[in-house]
Every structure is written in structure tokens, then in C-alpha cells.
Symmetry: C2
């Protein structure tokens, strides 16, 4: 009686191996293949986003963080960088289009400043060369701070003894450190530290449990379907321009109220009609609404539209959900010191 | 030769005693007298500002702090409590009058929410009975959030699963916890923790070096001249109403652009014409501009005007400066957890 039982036990054991152990081994091999493949197109996230023209220093970052919250350099005293980039909302404002001084509507949707410095340019149509250029132009830009001139901004900043000291500390070799160029450098240096590490990064480093099975499926689909053709780099976008609507005019699928010609406004080249910068997808699940005009509210809808008009594919609902799950794995941890606010200088 | 020298030394020693030691002793006695006297009218600052109707609980404070930053319950998505009460500016906005949804100007200057819950009522004319009442009315008030109804606010909040969980945790015995009344209680509970301890408090507790000699002179003058007649309590104000302009119409001295009849708008009583709530003076040096209409920029000017039209005295410049120095001793430390921002719930 014992021999058959033993044999039976052995059979059960073999069946167990076949049913569970082999798939587990295969699954692990899949994970490794997925990590290897994803690492090639996405790559490891850096600790910051440095610039040769504007090296990051602690003094610049300290000053830049204070200036990020400063509304007294706007024409009506209501606009600071943080107005359109509030940290509690992942540094985007949740509006279709941001509202600047005196209720001026911005032409396009507000991207988060997290990871933004990694891009080839700033703004949807690339009309700002860097975060520094963006910061500088915003203070006199009509839809943002709306100040009459750079000099008027400098005059305000110079009236605060504490700003004079902070600028001097950040730009010690400058004879007159309180300038709009240095304002832009300080804000830029702060923004160059705003990298948010996400579950995807832990996964790419080898922690196989950092993302869920559905997120892994979504990551695979994101690569298989060709999303990475534009959304590559550790920032999952931000590295190139692309026509919005390769397979059909975008406004036929989005809820856009008017047609935006995109980068054509910058270059006046016919080739740039309806061309926009490919957005960084990090924290995309936290920064609705979507697209250059914020015309779509739900990530699921945005993903399906992208498949339809950028890839010419009618992505099945389940795959859209997998990709959305993957996009949640891009929701990063905001650096701790960014979660604290500074006190602004006082005139008293 | 030795005896005269000794005698001379003794004389020097006596002279030293007369010149320095005696004044030092007197000075210390003065400090003690000043502390005793000031403690009677100002009294010890409490750790929080409790309410029998709305007991402070950690769960309410957690929720209230998140709601404090929530703009999606405003009609244009731009207004949260923190818009007009930004922590980096000591929870006031630095404007003459706050700007609510769609650029709507508020009727009066924005007081800080720090220490505000200590007052007999809220707003300059006392038309809000408590911080809870203020929070509740602000969401539908035309110059603030501008929502069409309380129901519309509740609908937004209920659409977030995370808010449902947070409200449930804060109001566990409520069948439907996500209500505007509970919104108001949560924000109120958070605001009831916003007490800022200042150098004056350390001084009143016996640390004689906590404030400067000039600040001590200023504190004495503040009491001698009669400022404490209205600005009493640990919050240095907020406990009574008073006519603005007892000795002369206020608009003859301020830079007011139009005459505000003050509390008359609430009570319709002739006695309440030009009557306003006496403001809390804690953090006054950090919250310019001054008066109900924010018509005066400098604290020195505000103090002189107060002397002139509330006390009928032309305070000499030096005394004004001493009082301003004392008012700086009311600039408090913002609680550490208030210097961090929360993340807001996401719909994804």
C-alpha cells in the first residue's frame, strides 16, 4: 500500500511543480525581460535635472523656493509660481487653462513643474527654451504675472532687505545680484531639483513587487503598442515634438472648443501645424485634465484617444485600463522638503 | 600712599554700584513689574482655541488641513482657503482687499487665520459668528468660492473616495458624514490649532531677554497710552467692537477711498456706524496692509493714526517706534506641521 501512495504523493508534487513553480519561474523571467526592455527606452531616473548654464547650488535652491511662492512681483499681487503650480495638487492647478493676473486665461493647460526641467523646452509649443527662460518670461507675460517690465520686478525685490541678502548669498560674485535673470536662475535651480521617484523606478531597479501585475501588463502594452515611440526617456516624454492627430484631426476626438495650431505659432512652418511637445507622463494620474487644452477629464479617455489618433489603433478597453494602471505607477513621491513652505520676506 | 588709593578704589566701586548695579536691579524689578502688569491684561496664550460645539480631534484637523487647500469646491476652481490665507505670507494675502472667484473683490481686507478662532466673531464687522460659520458661508459667498449651493459643494466632495473616507474618520457617528457643516467643522478644528507663540509669550513667562529693551518700552507705552483698552487678551485684540475714529472720522486720516459704515451693515443700529471688530494684533508686523480697507501700508503710520483717532493723542515719533518694536514681539512661530502642505485627493 505504501509504494503507490508514495508514487501518488510524488505525482501530486510533480503536478504542483508543473502548475505553480514553473509559472512562477517563468513569471520572474518575464519580469526580468520587462525590466531589461523598459530600461532601454525609459532608463534610470536621475536625482536632479542639472544645467551647465545654471548649476544647482543650495543657496539658489533656497532662494528659488521662496521666490516660487512670491506674489508681490505680480501686477495685481495675486500671482506666484505656486498659484498655477500648487504642490498639494502635484504642482498643476487642475484647471483646463490656468488663470493669471486679473483673471487672464492662459492659452493652454498648465503642466506640472515636477520633472519639467528635463524637457527639450517648456510649454506645450516649446516657446520657452528652459525652466529659467519660462520663469523669466512669466513675470512679464500677460497671462501670468503681468508686470510692466523686468525693472519693475527688480524694484520690488530690491525693496526687501531679506531678498538682497538671499540673492547675494546665491550669486556672491555678482555686483548687483538682485536681477530678473538671477530670479530666473534661482527658480530654475529649485525646479531642477523637482524629480519625483515612482514605483516604476523601484521596479526598474529590480524590485519586482514595486508595481502590480496589471501595471506590468500595462507597461508591456505601453511599449508593444508604440506609446514609447514618443513617450521615452526616464521622464516618459518631454524629449520631442509630435503632431497631435497623426491618424485623424485631434479635435474630432477631444472636446476641444477651438483648433490650436500648436508649434506653428512659434516657427510659422507648415510642418509644425498641430504639433505640440510630447508631455512628460510622470504624475499624469494626478494632473488631470488632459491635453494642451485640458479638454479631456479622464485618463482612460485620454489613453484611448491617444491610441486612436496617434497610433491608429482602437485599443480594447482592458488594455486601456492596463495602460492607465501603468500610468499610476508613474505617480512619484514629492521630495520631503518640497512639502514644506517657506516664509516670505517682510517689509517691516 | 596706600590708604587714599584704597579709599579711591572704594569710591570707584561705590560709584560703579550707583551707576550700574542699582539700575540693573531696578531694571529687573521693572521687568517683573512689566510682566505682572502685562500678564493682567494680556494673559497667557493657550495651546489652542477650543470650542464646545466643535471639539478639536486629530481626524478633524487632518481633514481640515486638506480642505484648507482644496480649490475644486470653488465655482471657477481657483479659490481655496489658502488662496487668501497663504501660509508663506503669515496666512494673509498682502492685498488691500482679497480677490475671490472670477476676480471678485472682497469688501474688506483679509485678516490672517492665525489666532483668528480666539475672537468674539469673524470678519471685520462680525458678520460671521465663528471660524466654522466663516468657513461654511465662504463656500457660497459671492466674493469667495462662489458655489451655487451647499449641495453643489457636497456633490464635489462626495465624488472623491478619499474624501468620503476622511470625512467618515473625522465624523464616525454621522450617517452621511460628507456635508458642508462637517466641512466647516473640519476647517474650523484645523484653524483652532493655529496659535502662534511669540517672543512676548516667552517674556510673560519670565524670560526677560526674550524681548528687547525697546520692545519693553513699547509694551509699557502700549499699556500707558491705553491701546490695551481695546487690544487686550492673550490675542491682543479680537474681543470687542469699537468705533473706528473716536476722536475724528477715520477717513480723514487713513487713505480710505470710500466710507465703510462697518457693523451698521449687520445690526442697522446707528450706534454701530463706523464700528469694527478690534483686530487681533498677533503677527501684525507680518500682515500689512492695515485697517479694514487695507488703506495704510506702514505699521508706523497705522500706529500713529490709531493714537490720533482712537486715543486723541499725537504720539511722538519715538514712542510710535517703540510700540512698533513691541508689535514685532507679537510675530509668532508658525506650528511646524502647518509649514507642511498636504496632498489633495485625486479622482484617478
Amino acid at each position: 500500500m505504501r509504494a503507490p501512495l508514495l508514487r501518488e504523493k510524488k505525482s501530486w508534487f510533480l503536478l504542483f511543480i508543473l502548475l505553480f513553480a514553473v509559472p512562477v519561474t517563468a513569471f520572474t523571467a518575464d519580469d526580468e525581460a520587462l525590466i531589461t526592455r523598459a530600461s532601454q527606452v525609459l532608463g534610470p531616473l536621475p536625482a536632479s535635472m542639472p544645467s551647465a548654464e545654471n548649476p544647482i547650488t543650495p543657496e539658489k535652491v533656497t532662494l528659488g523656493k521662496i521666490l516660487f511662492y512670491e506674489p508681490r512681483i505680480s501686477v495685481d499681487g495675486t500671482v506666484s509660481c505656486s498659484k498655477c503650480h500648487p504642490i498639494p495638487l502635484y504642482a498643476a492647478d487642475g484647471l483646463r487653462k490656468s488663470i493669471g493676473h486679473n483673471c487672464t486665461e492662459n492659452p493652454r493647460n498648465d503642466p506640472t513643474v515636477f520633472n519639467a526641467a528635463s524637457q527639450i523646452s517648456e510649454h506645450w509649443i516649446g516657446n520657452r527654451t528652459s525652466v529659467e527662460d519660462q520663469a523669466k518670461q512669466s513675470v512679464i507675460g500677460p497671462p501670468a504675472f503681468g508686470m510692466p517690465s523686468y525693472e519693475s520686478v527688480e524694484k520690488v525685490l530690491r525693496s526687501y532687505a531679506q531678498y538682497q541678502a538671499l540673492f547675494k548669498a546665491a550669486f556672491p560674485s555678482d555686483k548687483e545680484p538682485v536681477t530678473v535673470d538671477n530670479f530666473a536662475k534661482a527658480v530654475g535651480a529649485f525646479e531642477r531639483t523637482l524629480v519625483t521617484h515612482a514605483p516604476l523606478d523601484a521596479f526598474l531597479k529590480g524590485n519586482k513587487d514595486a508595481i502590480t501585475a496589471q501595471q506590468k501588463k500595462g507597461l508591456a502594452a505601453f511599449m508593444d503598442q508604440g506609446c514609447v515611440g514618443c513617450h521615452f526617456s526616464p521622464f516618459v516624454g518631454g524629449q520631442m515634438y509630435q503632431k497631435f492627430g497623426l491618424f485623424a484631426p485631434y479635435w474630432e476626438y477631444t472636446k476641444s472648443k477651438k483648433v490650436d495650431e500648436g508649434r506653428f505659432a512659434v516657427t510659422k512652418s507648415e510642418n509644425d501645424k498641430y504639433v505640440f511637445k510630447v508631455p512628460v507622463l510622470r504624475n499624469v494620474a494626478m494632473t488631470r485634465p488632459y491635453f494642451h487644452d485640458g479638454s479631456v477629464d479622464k485618463l482612460e479617455e485620454a489613453v484611448w484617444i491617444m491610441g486612436k489618433i496617434q497610433l491608429g489603433k482602437d485599443l480594447p478597453k482592458e488594455q486601456v485600463q492596463d495602460i492607465v494602471a501603468f500610468l499610476h505607477a508613474l505617480t512619484g513621491k514629492i521630495p520631503e522638503d518640497v512639502m514644506t513652505v517657506p516664509l516670505l520676506p517682510s517689509l517691516e
